[in-house]
């Protein structure tokens, strides 16, 4: 069995002629009946949707406004205190904070440069205004929000929160480009017929279907300095085993490596489908013009894949912001919180520390953080669809 190359074509094939059935039949009674029928068809899903997604979501926001101990409230429903926005204040702020304009300047600079570049492209006529606007908002936010730190004698109310956000962002910032680049490279190399290509497509995708607990099980042992395969190899070559999971600098790369290994298949398939949609005659024309492989990639493949790439990037960002299992099972968030990520912090705050109110505030923060990316993803998939 094989991952087929041209799947997108199938789903594009059938476009219905737009004719409504309602117009052919007696109007009123049918209209009414159809409405009833429609709601009958929708009712089961909508009921489940309202009770198990919409309602819990609102309840989560409600819980986040309270001091809400898991056990205390379970035993006595009145044992919660309405705090208003205190949980958010504790999460986000501190006392005696000062803003250092040039702290984290490489990150700030990168944002400002990206926004500037986008506007330059708009002026040159090749960029779009919404993208430039969006990047400008991000750049302003980055300049103003980054660089806050406790002044002498000051402190964050929750000293773990921002470092944990930072770790999560770092994880995303490492995993997403690596996964995307690897997936693109594999897709380019495997976008052809042939048994070897077919087998390799299957191979690269296979790790994607494994569960996070299998992936972490394998990689935890892979990285072990005493039992790990990597250590076995380095020892056989006469080197000291590398300590990965308890090292300040290597723990995060280790879970990134495991994550890339795990999740490269999905974007690879999307890239393959994107490649299959590029009309072959474009390449034919290029070949007639004697364009080299690099020129063909630069001027045909890459522009034609732009949307696919953006989609993959946004999809991966949303996915990897939700990282939990890798951190929970491979490193336990350690050493010294270096690999602690948001979802694990939410889980711990809720189920280890029993602070459901604080944990729910964290969950709302995660929701807001991802909302922007999800909206972008939705827009993109609409445009494509």
């Amino acid at each position: 069995m094989a991952i087929p190359r041209t799947t997108a074509a199938q789903s594009r094939a059938a476009r219905p002629p737009v004719t409504g059935p309602a117009r052919l039949l007696p109007a009123l009674s049918l209209k009414r009946r159809t409405t009833l029928e429609a709601y009958a068809f929708l009712a089961p899903f909508l009921a489940v949707y309202a009770v198990f997604l919409i309602w819990p979501f609102m309840k989560g926001v409600w819980i986040s406004l309270h001091e809400w101990n898991l056990l205390a409230v379970a035993f006595d429903p009145s044992a919660k205190t309405l705090l208003g926005l205190d949980n958010y204040r504790r999460m986000l702020f501190g006392e005696d904070l000062s803003w250092v304009a040039f702290a984290l300047w490489p990150i700030k600079g990168a944002f400002v440069a990206a926004a500037g570049y986008a506007w330059w492209r708009v002026r040159a006529g090749s960029g779009t205004r919404p993208v430039a606007l969006w990047l400008t908002v991000l750049a302003i936010a980055a300049v103003l929000l980054l660089g806050w730190q406790p002044a002498e004698g000051g402190r964050w109310y929750d000293s773990r929160f921002w470092p944990v956000v930072g770790n999560t962002v770092l994880f995303v910032a490492l995993t997403v480009p690596l996964t995307t680049a690897a997936a693109l490279g594999m897709a380019l190399a495997l976008n052809r017929e042939g048994r070897a290509a077919t087998t390799m497509r299957t191979l690269f995708f296979l790790s994607q279907v494994l569960s996070v607990t299998v992936v972490t099980l394998v990689w935890q042992i892979m990285f072990s300095p005493t039992q790990g395969l990597i250590a076995n190899v380095t020892t056989a070559m006469g080197f000291e085993p590398i300590v990965w999971l308890t090292s300040e600098n290597l723990a995060m790369p280790a879970i990134v490596i495991a994550s890339v290994w795990w999740s490269v298949g999905f974007p690879m398939v999307i890239f393959l489908s994107g490649l299959s949609q590029i009309p072959p005659d474009l390449y034919e024309a290029a070949r007639i013009d004697n364009a080299g492989a690099w020129a063909r990639f630069r001027f045909i493949t890459w522009p034609m894949l732009r949307r696919t790439t953006v989609f993959v990037l946004v999809f991966e960002i949303v996915l990897h912001f939700q990282v939990f299992g890798q951190s929970h099972l491979i490193t336990g968030g350690g050493p010294n919180d270096e690999t602690q990520v948001l979802v694990r912090y939410i889980y711990q705050t809720a189920f280890r520390d029993s602070e459901l109110g604080q944990a729910s505030a964290l969950a709302v923060f995660l929701f807001v953080l991802m909302l922007g990316f999800s909206a972008l993803q939705l827009r993109l998939s609409r445009e494509e669809g």
Partner: protein, 434 residues
């Protein structure tokens, strides 16, 4: 407790596939038991044959389950990592196990929230548990504000597990065959240098990178100076004593006599492979290391279990207790289950000496005084440990405080954070929790 599973729990598919697996046999009272200690699949009912925590406790439970006493036990073991998360979650779901193991340090939290039931000496006596036979510190371990909240199972403490061959090579074994352990931080460094010189191996290994074993090591050194992490709701971590305690350990890392990057499994492996002269770990592994040392293929050969040495003024080592507790809801609403749970605890209480085979210290005076107990392997080597056992003051936030200490100490060992900064940060975070 199976009646707690509502009608929703039995879809036809599940029933068809698992018929018979859920319904308890008639006339038997079924109790559910929650525990950690790991899984032992081949436990059986032969208590004498079992080795290691998981298998010993499971064989005790299995023997009770198999006995013709009208009770059956369903063990609901769970992994260490998420044990308390899951126990709490089961309480919040109004479906806790009928009896479960816990640490003494969790008593303030669970009792404070009204989760676990207080037990009277009369109830215990009626079930065949003699409270007067418990050692005073055992009774103390399960008590809070004058109430008894469970049945103690053991004391466990940090020991120094010693590889005598490596120590001897460095001239650190006395005429009686006991290891010579340091009596000051300076002497510890000298010993470490001697071991390094003579064998090229590390002096000391412990889990400094994962579970809070390293924290407990530092705590012991703190207590040995008469200090503590907090007292009377006031965090006292940013002190010269803490600096001295941390400094003593850090000196070992700085000089290359110990490896801060080992986690639990790796540090244990290093010790068994003969790569470290001393492993700091709990009492729970004594019988395991003893049986490993007997194996031909394991590098560790002559094994000794020494009490935690006194590097400062007062002897002290970290210690805790395992104990069994019964949910308040079971006592209040299910008298039959409650009675069955007490019968099980009486059975476990009767097998205190078997549990002590793991290396843990017994809680019953009659066991402590018995010959069988004294004859357990290595027991005489660390017999005094019970007297120097210490722990931080009772608090509902024990878990979170331990986590703060573990993170900040890891920051020192593993990420090079200055000691002063780490202690100040730990102080502030612990103060927030208190």
């Amino acid at each position: 407790m199976s009646h707690h599973r509502s009608i929703l729990a039995a879809p036809a598919l599940a029933a068809a596939l698992l018929a018979g697996g859920v319904t308890p046999a008639a006339a038997q009272t079924e109790i559910t038991l929650g525990r950690f200690f790991g899984a032992c699949e081949e436990a059986g009912t032969d208590i004498d044959a079992a080795v290691g925590e998981a298998c010993i406790i499971q064989s005790i439970i299995n023997a009770f389950d198999a006995a013709d006493n009208g009770y059956t036990v369903e063990t609901l073991p769970t992994d260490w990592g998420n044990y308390y998360d899951q126990i709490k979650a089961s309480y919040a779901g109004r479906n806790p196990p009928d009896v479960h193991v816990m640490h003494r340090h969790r008593v303030p939290e669970f009792a404070g929230l009204g989760a676990i039931a207080p037990l009277t000496p009369e109830e215990l006596a009626a079930a065949g548990i003699d409270v007067d036979d418990w050692a005073p510190n055992a009774l103390d371990a399960v008590s809070l504000d004058g109430q008894i909240y469970g049945v103690p199972l053991d004391f466990h403490a940090n020991l120094w597990h010693v590889n005598l061959d490596l120590m001897e090579a460095a001239g650190l074994v006395d005429d009686d065959g006991a290891p010579i352990l340091p009596s000051s931080p300076e002497e510890m460094l000298e010993h470490a240098a001697a071991v390094q010189e003579a064998t090229g191996k590390n002096y000391l290994a412990a889990d400094f990178a994962q579970f809070p074993i390293g924290v407990r090591l530092v705590l012991a050194l703190l207590w040995q100076q008469g200090s503590n992490v907090f007292s009377d709701g006031e965090a006292t971590i940013d002190t010269p004593e803490a600096e001295a305690a941390v400094g003593a350990i850090k000196a070992l890392f700085d000089a290359g006599y110990a490896d801060a990057q080992l986690n639990y499994a790796d540090s244990q492996q290093a010790f068994l492979n003969g790569e470290a002269a001393i492993l700091v770990n709990g009492t729970w592994v004594v019988d395991f290391y003893d049986s490993e040392a007997a194996k031909e293929e394991v590098a560790l050969d002559r094994y000794y279990a020494a009490p935690f040495p006194t590097l400062f003024d007062t002897p002290a080592t970290w210690a805790d207790s395992h104990m069994w507790a019964i949910p308040r809801s079971v006592k209040a609403d299910e008298p039959e289950t409650f009675e069955a749970a007490l019968a099980l605890l009486a059975w476990i209480n009767d097998h205190n000496v078997d549990w002590a085979r793991t290396g843990h210290m017994a809680v019953r005076e009659s066991v402590l005084a018995s010959e069988a107990y004294a004859d357990l392997p290595h027991r005489s080597e660390y017999a005094d440990t019970a007297e120097i056992a210490r722990d931080v003051p009772p608090t509902q936030k024990y878990g979170a405080i331990q986590d703060v200490l573990n993170r900040e100490l890891q920051a020192i060992w593993l990420t090079g954070k200055p000691v002063g900064d780490a202690l100040a940060d730990a102080d502030a975070q612990v103060q927030d929790l208190l």
